[in-house]
Symmetry: D3
Subunit: 135 residues, 6 copies
């Protein structure tokens, strides 16, 4: 028997794709319009998936109220922010959705009371582009 539970939240951030390891010309070629100097932004959808057994007494896999609070702490870091300018993590790595979903995964894992239950994080950058990260 395997159960999973998932919680979805959204956040709205600005960012610009630009890698310090590439020339301006290469950045423009690799990232296209996402390299616009003044940046752009998204309404991101963030989904956290936990996997495990269910407590027979409560019938729950994890305390949803606790998960909301733990996710809220992470959302405070990214919501209504400029990822590159306001979040330390993205000073050294480009804020591609691959790196953003990894950041979210690591950020929620360190806050979960039972981090071993974390299965994966999913990030919708737009309705058409979706990214996942797991260990």
């Amino acid at each position: 028997m395997v159960f999973t539970m998932e919680r979805r939240e959204t956040f709205s951030s600005a960012h610009r794709l630009h890698s310090l390891e590439m020339s301006d010309e290469e950045n423009k070629k690799v990232y296209g319009k996402c390299n616009n100097p003044n940046g752009h932004g998204h309404n991101y959808v963030w989904r956290v998936i936990l996997k495990g057994e269910v407590d027979s007494r409560t019938g729950m896999l994890y305390d949803l109220g606790a998960l909301k609070k733990e996710m809220a702490e992470v959302l405070d870091i990214v919501d209504h922010k400029h990822l590159d300018k306001d979040v330390d993590y993205f000073r050294s790595v480009p804020s591609t959705s691959e790196n953003v979903v990894r950041f979210l995964y690591e950020s929620i894992k360190s806050r979960l009371s039972r981090p071993e239950l974390l299965k994966e994080c999913i990030l919708h950058e737009t309705e058409k582009n979706v990214f996942t990260y797991s260990e």
Copy 2:
């Protein structure tokens, strides 16, 4: 080669989270507003996922018309009902989404003509909370 097919249906039910194994105070603490004495309700989304090979003659994994009928039998048990009061299964276990998705899984499995194809069931309690169950 692995194929899956999924069918989604919806149902609307009332329920209340309350465990017979906990005191009233503990129920209130664990379930919060979901423990409201008079209950609340949801439009649930139920997704059944089958996995297997495709019949080369029909090009189908499973007869979708048959699956619809089999799911309809299960929906008759829960749709426009109070889960705790109208469904026997939830007299002894709390109607958390974890337990509801398990009930749906077992209920559809016993009705499938080829139950070995059942991979998992997914239950959307709200747009933000999603649960899965598999063996």
Copy 3:
């Protein structure tokens, strides 16, 4: 020049369609499965639409933060509740979506700092059934 702004929220409630002005038999005939004695429930979507001019200084039609708080007060009355048993308004009138959307309209109007801006309320009972009310 006419602007509108809309805010959407959701709430999860139980209810039962049953009119005190009709016999049990007539209730069953008129409301069908929605008359199930133990009730059922929905994830309702509630949309408030305001209409008016925009303040040239702030570029806003209405303070969205204030609207959120005003809607939250109304949501406290209906969310995770049994409409018929927990909300006084539905003791005398059946909790059809027509009556629910009217209740929401009147409840938010009395809380808005500028009630004359309220254009209409919209209520999604399910993905397939949508109701609106305006004066």
Copy 4:
């Protein structure tokens, strides 16, 4: 007989709510987290609604291919841009959704071959906040 046709497109932009007519303190109070100095961003949904009669020969209200091109010209101005820094219109007025939807309305109207058909523009800032503009 009245027909309308609607075309939806999306774009992803950064912006910051900040009015030149208000002090820093007032900006922070009025706009809250939307006043974050480094900005934030959205996946906007833009809907253009045309209204009129249908050409009996073609059975169409307006040439959809032409509308796509006309909307694409406007999208080039805002998509993957910072509204405040990259779009002249928002140098003098704050980039609230009320002002953005008005800008989109005026921008598409000046490009339509039959501007008298334009009924309104709708802008979804997030899943929860929606704005319309019409004359």
Copy 5:
């Protein structure tokens, strides 16, 4: 006081845009890829909107069960059909969404027990193209 109620259904049809009043060349120019000789198809979303007063005894604007049956009769004509080849109405007029939504409007109006309540019909051809018709 004005109430509206809306019911949404879906249907899946094939069609081809081709006007008998235009040459093959003109058809290709006007309709583009929608003029593909072998046709294409859509999952249409059909929304019927009724407008009127609410019966104080039942709390309802119209009998939803009756509306479902009346819409089902219309759906039988178009669902899993080729609009041009299987529906008489489209033998003489091109099956543009403008004409399809008008056909749906007229077809449901003639079946409603209170046709004066019909306000409009809405047709989603795709997620991006939406059409309405009213008298």
Copy 6:
């Protein structure tokens, strides 16, 4: 560490379920209304999922711009077409969604610059029926 990225596109096609290996009577029995002689159609949603490591320099799993072009080549084969009449693949096999998603998988795999990254394809035939294929 495992990353996936997904790109979603849509296409609109006509088709008819009819197997050359079955009699007319059997086709009608197996496929029901999907066997309508003149066909029907869908707005399909096609999702391509890639799985692999992320390039630390670009922060990307795969070049999204390249994937869009590769998917566009496949979309040209099926979009605004009649699957059975316009696509060679479906001359010999019935155009069930199981076979369509397999065709899409094979078609995109042969176009990817790194085909080993392809994890699976997902096809939404309608909002209720979803199919996946992987090797």
